[in-house]
Symmetry: C2
Amino acid sequence: MQVIKGIATLLLAVSISTPNIMAQEVNNNVQKPTLEDLIPGGESYRYAENIYGLQWWGDICIKPDTDALKAINPKNGKEKTLFTLEQLNKALEEAGLKKLPMLYSIKLPWAEETKVLLPKSHRFAVYNWETGTVTKRDDLPKEPYANQDLHTESGNIAYTVQNNLYVNGSRITDEPEGVVCGTSVHRNEFGIHKGTFWSPSGKLLAFHRMDERMVTQYPLVDITARVGEVNNIRYPMAGMTSHQVTIGIYNLNSGKTLYLNAGDPTDRYFTNITWSPDEKSLYLIEVNRDQNHAKLCQYDVSTGELEGVLFEEKHDKYVEPQDPILFLPWDKTKFIYQSQRDGFKHLYLIDTNGNGFQSDSYKQLTQGEWLVQDILGFNTKKQELYILSTEQSPLQSNIYKVNLKSGKRTLIGNNEGVHRAQLSASGSYVIDTYTAPNVPRCINLINTQNGKSINLLTAQNPYAGFQMPTIEVGTIKASDGKTDLYYRLVKPADFDSSKQYPAIIYVYGGPHAQMITNGFMNGVRGWDIYMANQGYIMFSLDNRGSSNRGLEFENVTFRKLGVEEGKDQVKGAEFLKSLPYVDGNRIGVHGWSFGGHMTTALMLRYPEIFKVGVAGGPVIDWGYYEIMYGERYMDTPQTNPEGYKECNLNNHAGKLKGRLLIIHDDHDDTCVPQHTLSFMKACVEARTYPDLFIYPGHKHNVMGRDRVHLHEKITRYFQDNL
Amino acid sequence: MQVIKGIATLLLAVSISTPNIMAQEVNNNVQKPTLEDLIPGGESYRYAENIYGLQWWGDICIKPDTDALKAINPKNGKEKTLFTLEQLNKALEEAGLKKLPMLYSIKLPWAEETKVLLPKSHRFAVYNWETGTVTKRDDLPKEPYANQDLHTESGNIAYTVQNNLYVNGSRITDEPEGVVCGTSVHRNEFGIHKGTFWSPSGKLLAFHRMDERMVTQYPLVDITARVGEVNNIRYPMAGMTSHQVTIGIYNLNSGKTLYLNAGDPTDRYFTNITWSPDEKSLYLIEVNRDQNHAKLCQYDVSTGELEGVLFEEKHDKYVEPQDPILFLPWDKTKFIYQSQRDGFKHLYLIDTNGNGFQSDSYKQLTQGEWLVQDILGFNTKKQELYILSTEQSPLQSNIYKVNLKSGKRTLIGNNEGVHRAQLSASGSYVIDTYTAPNVPRCINLINTQNGKSINLLTAQNPYAGFQMPTIEVGTIKASDGKTDLYYRLVKPADFDSSKQYPAIIYVYGGPHAQMITNGFMNGVRGWDIYMANQGYIMFSLDNRGSSNRGLEFENVTFRKLGVEEGKDQVKGAEFLKSLPYVDGNRIGVHGWSFGGHMTTALMLRYPEIFKVGVAGGPVIDWGYYEIMYGERYMDTPQTNPEGYKECNLNNHAGKLKGRLLIIHDDHDDTCVPQHTLSFMKACVEARTYPDLFIYPGHKHNVMGRDRVHLHEKITRYFQDNL
């Protein structure tokens, strides 16, 4: 898009910018990436190079190649072939199984054995490359099943068929429609992402049972059926009746199931299930509906009765336990607990026989204005714990080892970028995968004791040869006048500081997410690159409420989601307007989900600032959002009527002045279409004129091939109107 | 909107058009009507003056005034007051009924008696103005009821509560959900608009029973509920299983119901129920699912058995009986039948004892290349029949009397415009209400024998004082090169023939409708007036397939709806392009329902002609449309696969080049939202870019106050894009 403001500006631009026009011509010889190149799902989209299926086999690094499985000695990086794909497929054929096209999906959970686990497509058969034999299992159903959970040591497998739970071919629950067993519950909040929990020996299986029969169903309509059909989802909305979860324990020896006697499950959340190492106790964290009170509870597995509450956490706003406790491998009486109790998520070592956070029953292992993001595992021999944390920068994840005796932390790998890591069985080695602003992906095998590193991959830039914008990261002050907020500014490759460019803010703004990182290209999105190439200044700002900055940074938004966040985004817009090369009258905003809410809210609350917005899958009224997430931040419509009123964008529909396109997917089961449709109705009644588009058949975001269409649609809207 | 084509044109326009600019300034002093003035539902919308509640009491004309009921002597036009509203309300108060705010809703069905029938709001109580008494009835239910049908002579009343039929307070059917009694059936096709039929004496009641349990339900989602709720509708789609109708006869004396033994009701339509004058027979027309074969059947009311088939009508394409037979008041062995058998709907006099259309059993009463539109009634004394017909012009409805002996036709009232009429009890007088291009509304009392006319109302122009466009009507040739098609061309008030205007075609194009008439302002719509005032040339054309032009004109579209109609509309567009003052590169199109289909089809089939379209509630795939209407014109998807494929606009989604906005209502139970949503999906897959808007809570069109929003939305789309 040409950026021209009237004839006078055009003439001015022509007269003073000949060098730049030439520069532009030069750039024009460099190909601009298309949306097909930049958007996941696009025909020519390329991920940065990677080594798929990289994993540990004990302390041996396994690398699946195209035609063979390679073992890398982490001491010297030397590779040897364990077996070839051809050998495997020959064995599969003999066993009457179909061929495996690639080796990326196999697993090596048995450190001491020459066996690989085949994927679900091969019904979890096991191939022994020494003997060349395939061991099939005959206890999996013919009908579709899901939520499979294999206990690799014992070989026991749990899975679900429709709403019931099965173990090794036997159904162990018999529940009617509306009661589901063995799945994730509480809409994946509180760190929950599965529904079965094997005991260390694999003889006992803890599982969720969720009764949803009392939850109102939301009807999503499938228009691809011959006649439109309803796909109902159980969707508990803020302030309404929620589902009820209980925890069962199935004993494989007795074939009996015992449910924990946790009392009335109404308005309670059960999360972070952990087995005690001796399998005699089950630990879990219980949270009240108000989400301001969590208890670490210990249940007797033999009776289902509560043995005790180890400790409780309370907060005026909310507590959000997301991590199960983790026992020390060398001392079964102590476990690691992750808490934000000092304002940042840190590690605490707690004694099972002590008094929780009282007196000397615990030890704080980490401390400081940074936070622990993940625990990678232990080195038992050295009594070390491995973690990812933001200690280097809130924009980064770096690997540290923490000595549990001395408390000393040591950086593993470099101090740049965003690291992900897999620790070897003994903790002696780590597979360190990281990206940094100029590093698309780098994978190293690192010795955790001496730091010696062997490079396995340094990815080529997937955008090599393309015209690319420039990216800057910096900070501005939040609307509180004191908090630093990180922004990312993307400028066209042929940037000319004498011109005035329209600017688009890409916003998310909600909790649990961060837009600006020190990862590759600072986390910029493909569409931002595309639009910068079209002559837009692209801007993002992680407002207060977003992640990796600590509890108070996040919970300032409590009971009024979108309001403080919006004030911070306005600071971003003011910063943009202060830039001489930004046309302050042409500022647009785009976001999805929480970012769709932000986009709509900014268009309505600040019509004098934002000219054009595109909001995708927006929350419009928190009363239509689900209980677990919604009530954590907003409480209920009954207890926070003012907050719900102020944050219900239907109440602001009459303030729309600029151009606002709202996009929603008709199968959005995260943020149901009622949000957007109610906003259309509110605008019709208020005589304002938003635009609308619906992607049929998609869920909470447009994925796959259609994602390119989505971004072309968004692009055109800004081109037409900004 | 300024009509400027680049700077050169602008300069040219300025240099040569000074007088016009002045003229425009003068015009600017005259107010342009707003959408609120022009769109029904708008705050300042005004209908042309009318006399509401005008009716006959025998041969006395009744005119409800604001505060009194007036009787007008049709011989001399003298008015006298029958009673005042105050008198009525005093009597109502004494009877314990609420006051009636206006007299417009009362009826005088008893010619010889000084009684009026009060409306449903007053539970059909009767007020005698001589005695000053109110007679209430106590046989109506307290719960909501509908489909009330009062036999005024006997006082018997039928009505429905939910899906069952009641008479005088007693339930006479006991059907489960999915079976409805006493309502209109077959989706109001075949002229059906009610479900109960009193015998002449009121002792017998024929009624529909419709079993819909085998019909697929389409889910409409009500997003105004706390949690979106499904409102299912039984919607039989083309080629699928349809409902089954049977005809019951309830005998008030015996309290028993007998169903006609008409055989298996699968895939059959039952319509045009008529009682024989002696109540011994029930006549109805039976149509096969293919709709190419109709039979006039006579059933014995005492046994329910078929007495005989009087005659049959067949056609290669379709037959569409829409009118019940009508017995002569003076000869119970003869009835009037309306048929298109000679290509135009005409009247036939048929003998019940004869052989239908064989030999001398019938007499054709009217003939010619025009058609009968309605039968008003008889003058028994003179043996005359009164009708409305297009004999003067296909754009008109005029009143004729037809002498049944001589066949002579005499025009009643003038030969202009579009007339509606009510005949008095004896047929001696008619209330003639008509509009003509310059006549907003004129009401005359006319003596049918001597033609003497008394003017009751000559309405003021509701747009007096407003700047109004000019309207022209003419004909062009259809794409067959021979058929004349009527068009209407609307030019801005300040029209300047040296300018080039963008043009918008407003299209409907389907059967049973006509856009261009000789009614007020030639039938122009408020939005056309508005857009002409904004500087657009507005154009409409009644293509082949539309009404009032005879059978062959209509049925040329058979099995390929939209195709021939589109070719004719292209002729209209070519005509527009031939006009020197039309900018041929800026032609838009807008329509709703069938017109939404036409709009979308034109945008897709003729992307080189049409730049911008706005389609409302469109049929996209006739496979999603209902059986009765859809299969008449398209047959079934099974028997006409090529036609359904060609006419399914999803198969043309990739051809979209211009800007197309599709608007649908989320409670559209005529043309379900699946049409538009499937088109969005098809366009996403084809990588084309339509726009979309949805009006929540509305049915097949946006009505009431929101209709102004709709037209502002449509206006902005053309202003932005055309």
